[in-house]
């Protein structure tokens, strides 16, 4: 019961008044950002990261954690009320959430989405308490070759799972790895791709890439969509709560979707979007009245919301225990950790138990605070949705630049911000997904270093990468994840 003791210790940290305040502040800001159209948790964490620069590591992580799950709660508010999901994970909430609003049942939809999110989040955090230590202990056995293969698997899975064209997913990933090779090579001191520009010698800060792609890219995209007209938003509400009958309908869907979401979230590449869509389809198939789905079935809101929040917690496990983020948002969270001088991975659990368990404990507290914020106060918070995009986007731009300056105190990074903003926009019009690139930029240099270390240990013998059973399993998983969509297609054809 070592985990349990550590968790208690974590609670003594998380329950300090200042830390409760930070998780609340983070949660409110996250909820607001998550609600705004087009701005999901990844953008929220990226734009708000500079707020934490002067905090200690525990407070900083707790705040960012609050922003992260706050954005997950908030994302569905906009889906339900104006049919505009804040991010991919909130898309499934539009299927039945918006029809419920049209039928005058917005109160029930808002309440059940917060309740389901709460149960999904708390359930997943409980599993996390028990799973993370064994995973971290297992990961200590990994040598550089195993780590390299793990990176290969995580990136390949992410590129392969992204929606749309898989080849484009891999292009995005390769581009990210290329960006990560810019700068002075840590092992030999050779300058690579710096083109004699002094500022490029220390490499490109992944936070700049993240802010550029998520914030600037989003603003650039908005120019195209802004003329589409604004939807009116309901701001007057009755009591935001659900009836006993509605609760009975949602109870089992929530309990089924939470573990599903957690499991999918913990897989590399498959994030909240996939978890929520799977949970939705699952419930639709199991339902006795599938025809109600899409017309305002309350379990159609409950199931994806529970899954999506459970997935957001599940995704933290590979990031914290292995140093491998499984989604855009956890990649940004990992960026926050690295900025605080903490290297996520198995050793983090041994060296920094206070930080890790403080964070995990604060997830419980954060979920309680967010449920409170999102049920009784939902009517107040959703007023933010009335802010027109024409005001919102210039403010996001302003935040992106000040955030970038706060990272490095150098205006040089503004140029990189603009360049990567343009790259992000070009990627969006060519339908190249951004997530694999972001993950690759963050793990790229670690990946190359583990390759080089293994290469040195084996004296330039590449067979080290297939020498251990762990490596072979990882190679098999990589191949499966690349071929999975093809296999799935074949199966579907056979079915027909």
């Amino acid at each position: 019961m070592e985990s349990f003791e550590l968790l208690l210790h974590g609670f003594t940290v998380a329950l300090q008044p200042m830390n409760i305040m930070w998780v609340t502040v983070g949660g409110i800001l996250g909820t607001i950002i998550g609600m705004l159209p087009g701005l999901g948790p990844a953008t929220g964490v990226a734009v708000l990261l500079p707020l934490t620069f002067t905090m200690g590591p525990v407070a900083a992580l707790i705040t960012m954690g609050g922003v992260y799950y706050g954005a997950m709660y908030g994302g569905s508010r906009a889906s339900i009320l104006i049919n505009t999901p804040g991010d991919g994970a909130a898309v499934a909430a539009t299927f039945d959430g918006y029809p419920m609003t049209l039928k005058g049942k917005a109160e029930s939809a808002l309440a059940i989405s917060a309740i389901a999110s709460f149960i999904g989040g708390v359930f997943a955090t409980i599993i996390m308490v028990f799973v993370s230590m064994p995973v971290a202990r297992f990961a200590v056995k990994f040598g550089p070759a195993e780590y390299f293969m793990l990176f290969v698997f995580a990136l390949a899975a992410t590129a392969s799972m992204t929606k749309g064209n898989r080849i484009k997913g891999f292009i995005s990933m390769t581009l990210g790895l290329m960006i990560a090779t810019i700068g002075i090579d840590a092992q030999s001191g050779v300058k690579r791709f710096t083109f004699n520009i002094l500022e490029l010698q220390s490499g490109i800060d992944f936070l700049v890439v993240i802010i550029a792609v998520y914030a600037l890219g989003e603003v650039f995209k908005s120019f195209k969509n802004i003329a589409e007209g604004k939807k009116t938003i309901q701001t007057g509400f009755g009591k935001i709560w659900i009836s006993m009958e509605e609760w009975k309908r949602c109870f089992w869907p929530i309990l089924r979707s939470s573990p599903l979401g957690f499991f999918i979230g913990a897989l590399p590449g498959a994030g909240g979007t996939m978890a929520s869509l799977m949970a939705y389809n699952n419930e639709k198939q199991m339902s006795k009245t599938p025809e109600e789905f899409g017309e305002g079935a309350i379990e159609g809101v409950a199931a994806p919301e529970a899954a999506n929040n459970a997935a957001s917690v599940g995704a933290m496990i590979p990031m914290l225990t292995l140093g491998i983020p499984g989604s855009g948002t956890t990649a940004v969270m990992m960026g926050a950790l690295l900025m605080l001088g903490l290297q996520p991975g198995p050793l983090l659990f041994q060296q920094q138990p206070t930080i890790i368990w403080g964070l995990i404990a604060s997830m419980f507290i954060g979920n309680i605070i967010l449920a409170v914020l999102n049920i009784p106060f939902a009517g107040i918070i959703v007023r933010v949705l009335a802010v027109p995009p024409r005001i919102l986007y210039p403010i996001v731009l302003g935040l992106a630049f000040v955030g970038t300056f706060a990272i490095s105190s150098s205006v040089m990074d503004f140029n990189l911000l603009i360049i990567f903003g343009i790259i992000g926009f070009v990627m969006s019009i060519t339908n190249i997904p951004a997530t694999p690139m972001i993950l690759a930029v963050i793990v790229g240099s670690n990946m190359e270093q583990s390759f080089r270390r293994a290469y040195k240990i084996s004296d330039a013998d590449l067979s080290i990468f297939i020498a251990s059973p762990i490596c072979i399993v990882l190679i098999a998983l990589t191949i499966i994840s690349i071929l999975f969509p093809i296999i799935k297609n074949i199966f579907e054809k056979i079915k027909k």
Partner: protein
């Protein structure tokens, strides 16, 4: 989230239809080739194996070239099997929104020039103000100016005064 309709966006250049994927394939090929060539000519490591710093980048470059071929091949195959009428529906227009993006980039360049010279509050007022004008139109200049000044002051107080993040000051004035 790119929807299916977006996936069929087509650039029309001199009457010729070029699908986005084909252009992407070409850009990818050029990127991959340039990167590989630079990677191959990287200086040798002064210690240890001379080629070590090159191995990883060169492999990435080659992977990129392979991916570009795969993408082009996939697109050619699609074209051969589908009739082109479907492509006519969505036409990618280079119009106002590209203009707005170019203006935003120019505005950002001015911002980056003024940031240290004019100080945070003034340069941000100009940057956010211009951006608000770009989004809202010239008629709403009063509200834009007001929002811009509130934003730049609020961020200044939050970051500089409360959080202690360094921001450049305007010469000769207190902020």
């Amino acid at each position: 989230m790119p929807g299916p309709e977006q996936a069929r966006q087509i650039f029309i250049i001199r009457g010729e239809k070029l699908s986005v994927s084909l252009i992407t394939g070409l850009i990818t090929f050029i990127t991959g080739t340039t990167y590989t060539l630079i990677a191959m000519n990287l200086p040798a490591a002064p210690l240890g194996r001379a080629n070590e710093p090159k191995i990883f980048p060169v492999s990435l470059g080659i992977l990129m070239i392979i991916l570009s071929f795969l993408l082009i091949a996939q697109e050619m195959k699609k074209r051969a099997s589908k009739d082109n009428t479907e492509y006519e529906k969505a036409v990618f227009k280079i119009d106002n929104h590209i203009k707005s993006i170019i203006l935003t980039v120019l505005n950002a360049a001015i911002y980056s020039f003024l940031f240290v010279r004019a100080g945070y509050v003034i340069s941000t007022f100009i940057f956010v103000g211009l951006e608000l004008l770009l989004f809202s139109g010239i008629k709403k200049w009063k509200s834009s100016a007001l929002i811009a000044i509130i934003f730049s002051l609020a961020i200044y107080i939050l970051f500089y005064k409360l959080l202690g993040v360094y921001l450049p000051m305007t010469p000769y004035i207190w902020i």
